[in-house]
Symmetry: C2
Subunit: 337 residues, 2 copies
């Protein structure tokens, strides 16, 4: 679905990523293999991995924004590589934190090499992300390079804040919708915001315009995640590939559920049951429908979606220039519920 | 022992650290308390912690080097705060990796909040370290600020490489002395090297001179760690505060042991015994003495110590300017074996 937006950049992006990783960590290094495995280039034994892992969504957004703002996307490749490395760093640590054994159909890094090594491989990718971003100083002015550094620092703090909230919410009975959106802002929105802001800043050096692009990325990220929450309950399984109501079965505290819990005492009662079977899932969906949780979530999604498009229009009033981004957003949101 | 070198900077450094941490993570934040706990400012419940944790050795070295190179140390405070935050980040992750329950007489972060939260708190401190370093752009030219960023990136990769080797060596039967020194270079030397290089670069903007200071820090760090290895076996317990031969009991693969293992087949045999009692410890020390492992280690220590002092002399030929550093190094190495 996103592939066609990533495709034009793919080869150059992969070259850049390989360059950053391989010049920092020599091929024969027993350490580097963990990073190359996480990037989807190698198997755990160091042999070539044939399938592609990861969608490279973030670097694509960065490069598209760069073009939309009038830049030459080849100039932004080290920044694009940086956000992809950062994303992969966060996945390695997330998988430990969530106790997840599988990602992209393969064992997670901690499953293969243990928690201690996975923490360290993640830390190395964090440092590699900064190393890649620093290389932008070869292309842009020192002032803009420092601006990129600053956006990146702010983003990384936001990411850890979002991750903290996400972990904390798992242990809370009640989470307000505001707190949930604040978590989404950190966990999903902040990096997408950075991609758009960084792409634009590289193109023009105009911080104000770049911030508008960032606002677009932030709101789009939140809207996208809320749509994911809706699909997790009312999704058409033939479209999403997940069976419907998966998020009810796992008792995930997604937006519709949080809204339901604060509006339906019956749902609160129901959620006290430890494990959900078919009957509980059906009842939960019925209770959510009764308080119009789906409508509420769609309303929220649209609110953030509109805010995103408004910011994009303000950042780039010329729709011809931002055409690719518009199509990209349409594709992102073209998942029927 | 180091306190008098840190003392002149302490108050200003602590103010800077508090400023960086508190402006990024609000006081009432349930996330910030983990960071403030790790910094030694608060108890786990957020109340004031009365004792001082950590020696602040790295920022002191950075500020001393800055002065030695002719700088005004107040200008380097955000860089000093940065290396201290980085050091504390690495301790949080190290403690998970080493399964250590206690640090500075208190429960480690993962012991209090669990592994998932401790990984994330460490990641936040990593980002905070970069945030603090970035603030140097308010004081130095953009070119120098970018130079600091570059040193910092290189250092962080070196740190993860050193940590990787350290973890790998635990599972190997034989580790060469060269590989061991390479590990020390990453794990201990790289950050001390960065402290000296960064301090000097801020003072003068002279990259070549700063690199000489960095060479001093690197070699000093390695020498210091080797001395620690010697003290771990032949240390005078009344001086070190540890009982002698602790590192034999824990079967730590320190430099003298690695040398012994590659020169004494009897020691290799002995080290096959799972748990060491008094008799095994005594026998191991006897075997190490027989192959002159202590003399070898002292020779290595002196080699790196001399390289450090030579680099310091080249970086700053005026001994008056570098007097504080000379006294500091003397104090560091004034632990009799």
């Amino acid at each position: 679905m996103f592939a066609k937006f990533v495709q034009p950049y793919w080869a150059a992006l992969d070259d850049t990523l390989q360059d950053v990783v391989r010049s920092a960590l020599p091929d024969e290094d027993s350490f580097g293999v963990m990073v190359r495995y996480a990037m989807g280039w190698e198997n755990a034994d160091g042999s070539l991995y044939e399938k592609v892992t990861g969608k490279r969504l973030r670097p694509a957004l960065l490069l598209m924004t760069n073009q939309s703002a009038g830049g030459n996307w080849e100039d932004a490749l080290y920044a694009a590589s940086s956000v992809e490395l950062l994303h992969n760093f966060s996945l390695i640590h997330d998988d430990i934190q969530d106790d997840s054994p599988i990602r992209h159909g393969r064992s997670t890094v901690w499953k293969v090499w243990g928690i201690a090594n996975a923490i360290n491989a993640g830390d190395a990718m964090f440092a590699l992300a900064y190393t890649s971003m620093e290389k932008m100083a070869e292309v842009v002015s020192p002032e803009i390079a420092l601006g990129l550094w600053s956006i990146f620092n702010r983003t990384n703090l936001e990411l850890t804040r979002g991750q903290h909230l996400d972990m904390r919410f798992e242990h809370l009975d009640a989470v307000s919708v505001e707190d949930y959106v604040s978590m989404l802002k950190g966990k999903t929105g902040s990096l997408l915001s950075a991609c758009a802001e960084i792409g634009a800043l590289i193109a023009t050096g105009n911080k104000e315009q770049a911030r508008k692009y960032g606002e677009f990325g932030l709101n789009m990220g939140i809207a996208f995640q809320i749509r994911d929450d809706i699909l997790g309950i009312w999704g058409n399984s033939s479209v999403t590939g997940k069976s419907a109501a998966t998020d009810i079965q796992s008792k995930k505290k997604s937006l519709p559920v949080l809204y339901g819990l604060s509006n339906s005492p019956e749902l609160v009662e129901l959620y006290k049951i430890e494990t959900f079977g078919e009957a509980e899932i059906d009842q939960a969906v019925t209770l959510l429908d009764a308080v119009q949780a789906r409508e509420y979530a769609i309303e929220q999604e649209q609110k953030f979606h509109q805010a995103a498009m408004k910011a994009l229009d303000e950042a780039q009033p010329d729709h011809n220039a931002s055409q690719a981004i518009h199509e990209f957003v349409d594709a992102l949101f073209d998942r029927t519920y």
